[in-house]
Structures are given as C-alpha cells and as structure tokens.
Symmetry: D3
Subunit: 253 residues, 6 copies
Amino acid sequence: MRVLIVNPNTTDAVTDLLVNAGRRVAAPDTELVPATAPRGMPYISTRAEAQIGGAIALEMLAEHHGADAAIIAAFGDPGLFAARELFDIPVVGMSEAAMLTARMLGRRFAIVTFTTQLVAWFRDCVDMHGMGSYCVAVRALSEPFASMTSVQVDKEDRLVELALRAVEEDDADVIILAGAPLAGLADKVREKIPVPVVDPIAAAVKQAEALVALSTRKATAGSFRRPAAKPTTGLGDMLAARIGHRDIRHAAE
Amino acid sequence: MRVLIVNPNTTDAVTDLLVNAGRRVAAPDTELVPATAPRGMPYISTRAEAQIGGAIALEMLAEHHGADAAIIAAFGDPGLFAARELFDIPVVGMSEAAMLTARMLGRRFAIVTFTTQLVAWFRDCVDMHGMGSYCVAVRALSEPFASMTSVQVDKEDRLVELALRAVEEDDADVIILAGAPLAGLADKVREKIPVPVVDPIAAAVKQAEALVALSTRKATAGSFRRPAAKPTTGLGDMLAARIGHRDIRHAAE
Amino acid sequence: MRVLIVNPNTTDAVTDLLVNAGRRVAAPDTELVPATAPRGMPYISTRAEAQIGGAIALEMLAEHHGADAAIIAAFGDPGLFAARELFDIPVVGMSEAAMLTARMLGRRFAIVTFTTQLVAWFRDCVDMHGMGSYCVAVRALSEPFASMTSVQVDKEDRLVELALRAVEEDDADVIILAGAPLAGLADKVREKIPVPVVDPIAAAVKQAEALVALSTRKATAGSFRRPAAKPTTGLGDMLAARIGHRDIRHAAE
Amino acid sequence: MRVLIVNPNTTDAVTDLLVNAGRRVAAPDTELVPATAPRGMPYISTRAEAQIGGAIALEMLAEHHGADAAIIAAFGDPGLFAARELFDIPVVGMSEAAMLTARMLGRRFAIVTFTTQLVAWFRDCVDMHGMGSYCVAVRALSEPFASMTSVQVDKEDRLVELALRAVEEDDADVIILAGAPLAGLADKVREKIPVPVVDPIAAAVKQAEALVALSTRKATAGSFRRPAAKPTTGLGDMLAARIGHRDIRHAAE
Amino acid sequence: MRVLIVNPNTTDAVTDLLVNAGRRVAAPDTELVPATAPRGMPYISTRAEAQIGGAIALEMLAEHHGADAAIIAAFGDPGLFAARELFDIPVVGMSEAAMLTARMLGRRFAIVTFTTQLVAWFRDCVDMHGMGSYCVAVRALSEPFASMTSVQVDKEDRLVELALRAVEEDDADVIILAGAPLAGLADKVREKIPVPVVDPIAAAVKQAEALVALSTRKATAGSFRRPAAKPTTGLGDMLAARIGHRDIRHAAE
Amino acid sequence: MRVLIVNPNTTDAVTDLLVNAGRRVAAPDTELVPATAPRGMPYISTRAEAQIGGAIALEMLAEHHGADAAIIAAFGDPGLFAARELFDIPVVGMSEAAMLTARMLGRRFAIVTFTTQLVAWFRDCVDMHGMGSYCVAVRALSEPFASMTSVQVDKEDRLVELALRAVEEDDADVIILAGAPLAGLADKVREKIPVPVVDPIAAAVKQAEALVALSTRKATAGSFRRPAAKPTTGLGDMLAARIGHRDIRHAAE
C-alpha cells in the first residue's frame, strides 16, 4: 500500500522527520511516499498560512498519482475536508488522527507544542474537529528556538516538563506532542511521561492503513461525494483537471 | 469610506448583483469598490472550492490598497478568519453578518438558497460561526436553474415558497436568503414573507460601516495580531509581500 | 432616523454618558433620543433588579412614540426579547450588540467591568445570548468606587490593567468595557490595549442604524410576532394600551 | 410548613386549579397558601407578559410574609432566578421542578400543552434551564378552546392524543402536561399514557417540601446572596422595602 | 412508605452513616430499609469498581421485595439507569438527586470530597447527568485519611476549607459534600459555609419520597419500559428471575 | 500480535460472525482470539443487560492472559472505560472504533441496526462517546427476525433500504451497520449504498492493531492509571486477583 505524506510546508527536512517517524510504525507492506510543498511557507503556523497551505495541499494531491491513501501532514489539518471531498482515496489529517487516537487511550488529552505561535491555530483545529470538551489544554513553549529541525532535540527536556504539568495541573490522561517538527519525539520521551503519548504522524499512518484495509468506497452521494465538474481559470493544471473531471487517473478508476 | 467587495468567484455579473444590492443600503459617503476574482471558479459551492477560493480572496485583499474595510462576498465566508488575521482593516463575512443580524431580529433563523449543492458548505459555515443552535434549517431548491444571474428572477416564487415552509414547519423567526446570486432578492419579496428577511450583502455592508465607525484598532496581541514576517515561495507578489512584511501600504500605516 | 436610548436606570447622569458616547459614532442623520427610567433603581446590577428594570423598560418603550429603533441601554439587556416581541421597531441590546461586534473582531472576548456586583448578571446575559463558548472571562474590579459617573475616570488605569490581564492570561482577542457607567471609556484607552476594545453603547447605536437601514419588517408570524390583544389590570396606561392593541401609534402604522 | 403558591396571573380560578392539584400530593403538615396576582394579565403566554409577570411575582413575594417556601406557579417560571436571589426562602419554579422530576423518571421528555401560543415561551424556558438536550418536543394543540378553566376537561382526549404521538414519534420517555390550566390533569389521564406523566404543580409542591426539609441556608456569598440595599423610586411599598433592606420580616430573621 | 437504601459497597458502617443521615430528613411515615452489598468492594471509587458495583446493585434490588422506591447510595450512581429500566419502582441516584437539588438552590455548584481517588469517577458522573455546564469544580483532599467511617470527623475542617475555596475561587453558588462516608456532614458544617450545602443522601431521600407521592407509573413504552424476558446463564437467582420475568413479586403487581 | 475478541454475550455463533468478519481485515500477523461470555445473556440489548454484561466483560478480560490488545465486541461498548482503566493492554470498543472511523470518512453518520430494541442503548452509547452532534440518526427495523445468526442474511435488503433512507432523508455521509449480528454485512452491501459503510468489528480490529503498533504505555498517572489494590468479596477469582493486584500475569509485566 502506498501512502502519500503531503507536507504542505516547503521544508524538506521536516518531511524527512515525518517520514522517518511514520516508517517506524508502518506495516511492512506500506510505502510512505513523501511530498514537500513546491511553493508556500517554510512552516505554516497561522490561519492565513493554513488557508494558503490548504489550497497548496490540494494541488499536491492532484499532482501525485497512484497512492492508496494520503496524509495531510501538518498538525492543523489544512485543507483536510476539502481534500476528502475532492479526491477518491482516503485522506487522513495528522491532528484528527492524533485526537481520535488520544480518545481511545483516555478521555482528556492535552496538546503540547514548541511555540506559542501555533496555539491559536491548534485551538481552531480542536474546534473544527468537535474535540473542545476533550482537549483540556494547549500548552506551548514561549521561548525562542534555533531551528525547526533541531527543536525536538534542543527542547526535549522543556517539552517533557510541559507534558508533566499538563498531567498534574490539567488532569490530562493523554499527551499529544503536536507540530510536524516534533515528529518522532514521542518515542524518545515515552518513559519520562506517566500517561500515553501520541505522535501525530505515527497515529496518522496507522489510520491511513486502517482506512485502506477497510475498503470503504468513495461517496457518490452525501456531502463528501466528488463535486460536479467545473471550469476554472488560473489554477495549477492538475488541480484544474481534477476539478474539471479531466484527470486521467480518476477517469480510469 | 471605501468598502472593498471581494467576490472570490470569477463571475463579474455576480459582483454586479452584489454591489447593486449593497448600494441600496449603504450610507451616502460609503463607496463600494468591487473586485472579482481574477482566477478560480465561476461560482464556489463546495469545501474544496472554498479552500481554493479563500486563498484567492487573500490574494485579492493583498492587491487592493486603500480600502477602509472589506467584505468577503460569498456566503460561506471563504478565508474570513485568515483575512482578519493577515490584514489591518476590518474584514466582514457575508454569512457571518447575515447570521448575527438574524439573531438581532429573532432567535431561530433558516437559510434558504437556490441549490442543494450549497447545503453542506453552508452547514459547515453555520458550525464555523458557532450558530448551530440558532439555525433551524438550511432549505434549498433541488431543481435545475438556467443561470446564476437569472436564478433569483426565475425562481422567486419557489424561493418564497421555501421561506414560507421554513416559517411554518421549522418555526423560523427570520429568513436568510443566502448565496451571492440571490443578492437583492430580499427587498423584492419582503412583503410576501411574514418574518424579517435578511439579505447577506446588505447586512455585510452595514456591518462593515459599523466596524469602521467604531474605530477599533488592529490587534497587536492575541490570536488576530498580524503574523510575524515569513519568506514564501511561489505565491502572488502582493500576497508574498504582505506575508513578508514588505508591503508598502502597510509599512506606511 | 430617531433612535430611542432606553436607560432602565433612574440616573440621568448615566443617560448623559450613554448619549454622549453614542453620538460620537452616530451617523449625521441619526438623532439619539434619551429616556431615563421614571421609576426603579439608580443602577441595575442583579437578577432581581433586572427583572423589574426590564418591565420598566417595556413601559418606557410604550410611552415613547415615533422612534425608528430603540436601544435597551443597560449591559445585561433587561427586557430585550420581550421588547422585541411587543414592539414594531427594531430593539437592540447593548450587551448583545457588543458581543456580536466582538465576534467580528476576533473569536475570544473578555468582558471587563468596574464592580464584582455585576458579574453574575453579566454571566447570565452571556448565556442568554448563547455566547458562553466565546466569552473567555468576566473580569471586574473588587474595590469600592466613589460614584457611577466618575468611576470611568477614577479607575481608568485599573480597568486598563484588567484588560491587559485578560489579553495575557485569558488569551482574549477583544475586550468589551461593560456597564453603562463606562460608556465612552473605550475611546480614551484604545491605544493602551493591544486588541480591539468595544464600547457597548457605540456598538448598539451602529446596530440600531444597521437594522433600520435594512428595512426589515416586523414579524407577523413566528415567535416574535406581536402577541394577541389582552386585557390587563393595574399596568401603566401606555403599556396596557400596547398589550391591549389600543395604542394609537401602532394602530396608525 | 407553609408553601406560598404565587400565581402571577390574575385569574383566581387558575389559582384554584393549582392549589387543588397541589393539595393532592402535599404532605399532611403542608399548608398551601394561594396568591393570585393583583395586577397583570389573566394568563401569561409570551415573553413580554412573562417579563411583566415576573416583576409582579416579586411584588407578591414581598407582600406575603411567613411562608417557608414559595412556588412560582406559571410554567415558564417568570421571575424565578430573581426571586431566588431576592428572598430568603427557597423558591421553586413549576417548569424547573417538572423538568428535573422528568429526568429522574427517564431521559427524554416531551412537553404537551393546550395552545401553540405558549410554545415559544416554553422553549425559552427549556433553554433557560439548560434542558435542551433532554426535551425532545414541545407539542401543542392548535385549535381554539373555550376557557382556561375548562380546557383540561374539554380537550382531554386531544391532549392524550398529543402525548401518545410524543411517545411514538419523538421517543419521549416522560410527558409533562404543561401550563397552569392543566393542573391536575395528569392524575386523570395517567392510565391512558404508557410512560410517566408529570404534573408541574404537583412536582413543584414536592420539591418545595424537599428544600424545606433539607434546611439549607440562604446564601450570604455567591451569586444568590441577597443584593445590597438600594434606594428605589416608584415601586410597590413592600418590594421597595425588601430591596432597600427595610422589610421588618427579614430584619427579624 | 418503604425506601430501600442500596449501598453497593460492602461496608456496613457506611450504610449506617447513610441511613442515619437519611432519617434526619425523612417524613414520619417513611421507613428507610438498609441494604449493604453482600459481595464486591468495601468502597467503590473507580470506573471499574462502579461497573461491577452497578451490577451488584441490580442483584440487590432484585433480592429486596416490597419497597416503594429505592436509592442507589453511592455518589457516582452505579447502575442507576439500568435499575430504572429493569425495576418497577422509582429508583433515585444519590448524585443525581444532589445535583438536581443544587440547581434549585443556585446555578453553579461545586462537588467537594475527601479523596482525589474519586475525582475521575465523579467527573464522569457529572457528564452522565449532563451537568457539565453547572458543575464549576470537583475539589478533593489529597492527603491520606484513617478510615472511611471517621473521615468526616477527622477532616471536617479541611473539607470546610475546600468548600470555602470553591465559593471564593470557583464562584460556586452551592456545595455538594459528596461520597457516602460524608453522609450527615452537611448538617454539622452548614453554618460555616456561606452558601447552601447539599447532603446527597438527604437529597435522595426527599426525591424518593417525592416520586412516590407523585404516583407516576412504570413505563410500558419508551426506553425505560421493562425489557422483554430473556433467558440468562450464571446470574444470581433473583436477578435472573427478574430478567426472565419469573419474579413472583412483579408478576403480582 | 494477539487481539482478544471479548464477546460479552453467551452466543458462540455471534462470536464466530465477529471473528470471521474481523479476520478479513486483520493484518497477516494478527491473531484474533475469540472469547464468548461464560455467563450472562444470549444477546445484550438494554441498559440493564449492558451493566451486567460490562461486569462480565471485566471477568473475561481478567481470565484471558497474554493478549496484546482487546476488543469489547458488543456495539454499546459495555464496560469499555472500566476495562481501559483496570487492564494494562489497549482496549477498543466496537462502537467507539466505528464512530471514530466514520468521522474520518465524513462528518455526519447514521447508525443502522436490525431491531428497535437496541435503539435506546445505542443512543446512550453515542452520548457516552460525545458523538451526539455527528450522529444524525439511529434507524432500526421494527419487524421481527428469525435468529441473530441469520438476521443479516434474511434482512439484507431491508437494512440496505434503511441505509439508503438515512443517506437521502438524514443527509448521512457514512453508514455504520451496528450490532454484532451484522458483523461482516458491510462487505456484502458496500456497492448498494452510495456512501462509505463501516463494519464495527472490522474498524475495531484495525484500531486495536494501530494502538499496539503505536507502543503507547499504560498510564501510571491520570484517571486511567490502574486503581490501587483493593480487597474484594464474592467476585470471580481472576477478577478479584486483578483488582487486588495479586494477578501473576501483570505482576510479571
């Protein structure tokens, strides 16, 4: 099975982090196919950036053929419902997968991340998924960090400290280590935190595999059926083809 | 005062409908500045189209200087919160304005529109604005229509009929005639419907005027402060300049 | 356009504060018509006082003819839904207008006021308007104050301090300076607070103007239609006439 | 124990219905003390009437000394929270008591009443008590009725029919026969309806007895403590005395 | 009237505490019939223990004949809805009764208990009863205690302190002293706490009496009707008889 | 990996249906270990039966050693949170897994089942998982059926019909075919229903595999930590050992 990892950020090193963390839990026959945004921002962290990044994620999905499922690999799930509607394969959001997994491991979860700049967007994402009554805190480091690729190493202790406070002060039953730059960290710190710790990309890979295994079909009715064909102007070729029902791939399906 | 009407659809005739309906209620010193999307879809009606159209709305806002406020003029409010964060002027959503207005005219409102294709997106929009407990129905015509610009004339009777059923069967206290192609219809049918009828573009123009009159400032703290400058790749020039804090206009402010 | 400012308190000096603050934002052709409660309490601050004050607001509305819209000018909106049902003109609540405006300027708002005595009533008002998930705090000074008319001057610094804490500790995106004695304060302190600040009476004046401009009709169906005529005993003459459908004014409409 | 039955309507015959129905379930040592509104409406059925009637209920409570508890005996509970704050004895609302009782007899309840005029007010009351997710329907007869005092006899079969439909179509586990004119009807029709039927006045009498038996104290802190003394103008003497802390009774307590 | 006190714990001394506290408020003709679990845990305090204890409560109810009502006398209400469905008499939960009573005495209540071990289960119970928006805090002592039967004496001052903090810091209008070992404590500390204090067993006894007095019938439709007869294997004789419709008692009813 | 399928019903044939359906989607190295309740009811369908069946599920979990994860294989998830607290391995609920999966395939799902007897319990289960705003309908056949093991064959057409109505009338985006006797049906009818169809046991198997792959740890803090050791009376030996921390297996872990 081929699972496309759609990183809507332009930073290849973050894609590498994601794919490496994903591979650790993937089934033997699962191939993770990485894709880094060809345009956009190095790292999405606000509503405006997510609006743009979500549209870019749709372009990326239109351009990559032949996957069995896809993961939108930014914690705020930019473009998730749009992708789920427009494409025929299952599309999993990293934050959605993390939060659903957290609920199976406890009732109250906390989101821990590396910068306060992400908090508002992550809160909106919690609301978008109707998880407000289960998410007891979004805690973030307020200090500067050197780089996105090293932050999980540089700040490991401080992030564990935040997680411990979420357990003690917010009564969190589960911790989500959120933000693509933290991909893979959960495995390293698991023994230092006394409740289950969820790594969103790992959760997303397992959910993508699960949805493929369940062989559910693309809706042809309801609100996630493929929209009717439309002409467009000035969009990327492949996205325009998909919207206009002129894409070869899906015609063949 | 100059209010930018951002139509994220590519159809000029719909922009004309919107501006004409808006002018009827605008204050004498309010100038409505129309802008039609230079790229995208003729008419946004699904989640995927809204994801793309919302990003285009941001481009349009970056390209138009000198307005005192802006209106995202598609009922689902594509890109609204993103725009409110990224730009310094007040930005009003047509659906948000309509729903807030409806609440001041009653408690339970119904949304009436011209095609079932819009229902899922409109429902998502109701949820996005936390209006689920006030919106008692989204009713739509299920029959085909000739064109977006004539649908409000061709289907006037049928839409009134839907509104009457919403009053009788759903106990709606207020009706919102939703969808840009219905701009201006409320005025024509007001006397045929026994509860207040809201025209979203009219509501939005008045809200834009209100926010300007209140002289509130752009946040420099909180989750709607302008995001920190970021480099970008492959975005439209003006949008990239705005995101990178290289836009002349706002530097001057 | 004539907008009636119904102050359900008996303190004329508070009415003056309200009208002055309202005039600063009113359109040139808007006349604000002040009315101070002829009976009741100097300043409503509890549920019991609001129950009585709301009934007095209805009497006041019945006694003042010829307005195009009315504002219930006490932050808890006493008698608002009752007035909206009983009278033919649009009726706006000061707290409702403030909270709806706050939502167009951000997502999470805090209410800041000058005495803890108001907190319970304001919280009930937040619930009455279904705003619980948007209101992140009601913060109030707990210290004594010299007089209602001077409190906004005497306590300006302390109120700004409360607002700043709401931004920093409660993550408020918008501040509402609530309570009629604070009318006009927002303008003075706007530059000291890094998020938009809403003045409820100013917000209410703009909403009253908006509703009049939209030319919506009085409902003749639904739950805000005028109640059927009823005999009454021992009520004020004009209110009894309105309830009994014996009021000349409205018969003429 | 003396329980004051505050009928905020001016119709003595309805007070009689209420007291008779209440007596059937009252404990031997419970004396029900009837009070009919000396001014107001013959029968409250809308928001405006409830605003006025609630204020009159406060006057009535101020004028009747020596009760151990009181019941606001109109289904929409006009003035309930205000009364609970202003007076020292427990005050029970007829609708609140009915809905709390219904929840102990099942999960989903339906409200059945004799006229559609009451539906909007009853719905507001359901919301006021946070019961929206338990109340599956408010069903009302839409046909005219001869008089408030005979409606429960004249329409018995039709009301039972409504109740049966609520059980079958709305999956109601419990029926509340609401509206003071239906007081006592539950007893007569109990065997015709296959789920528990709640008579609001009966429920309220038992709750008043329960609260007295529990010997809880009047709050001197929190939001239901007695408000600080205030001067008033133009209110009824006894109510003014209570608000001004000049009432003999409570000074003696 | 005979009210069965079903203590699903195996500790007789706790049953005694409950019955003694209940008797203080019971009507003269109410006989409280104590029953201590013949098997199970000395004191239920977690979800797993409640699952088991709830099943044991059903066995106990099946084994005790001739009561007019029953109380599940553990604060988390183990087995409550199951009991209400399976048996013909009214069944009251101690926590449900306490919370409904608290709502009639104020709006915001806090739960105060003697050990943090109970907090998660009590929170689940608050959610089970849909009381989340009314319960402002669950506060518990975190220190060890000598025995369940002496904890209310040993820790009286510390519990009062917790209650006072709930009033001051959480703005609680009412305090519930929760957990069977605290039965009767409310009476002793009432004057030290400035808001009403609810004793759950006392509240439950009054609710049981109320439900019996209201003479409501067992549902024969809806979701609380008695389930159809079923064969069972390996259950207690009397419970099996009840489930299989082979119980003499109820056949006679 | 060994996944224990805990069927809390006593019917072996239903266990077979579940295991067969589960095997179709299980990974090659996943062994499904079936367990049928040694005591209890042939088929749980009400709240009372679920209370008892949930306690039996705990006994079964205590008696089966060496699994890597477990599934509570009855749609209402009896005993799920209790099991998750008491045992060290991940425990998945069939309904929880189905509903979480449904949310990744759309927003609004409907539950379709074979008998109205299950509806109330299933609704409670939806609420228990906080899914009320996503579940648009619980639809059930009201006609009799010959046997639990043949119902999915006998009623296939009728169940498909119900599913189609849920899509058309309730706007369901996803269908869950619920109830253990329908295990495996989704695969057969997938092409007849135009939206994704979820088979709960299949969803649960994939979630169990996912949780094991994620290597999360058992909580030693928070509300899902293992409860402190307790003495018990009259419980099954293995369950008593587990509660008393005398179980060899877990001591070894």
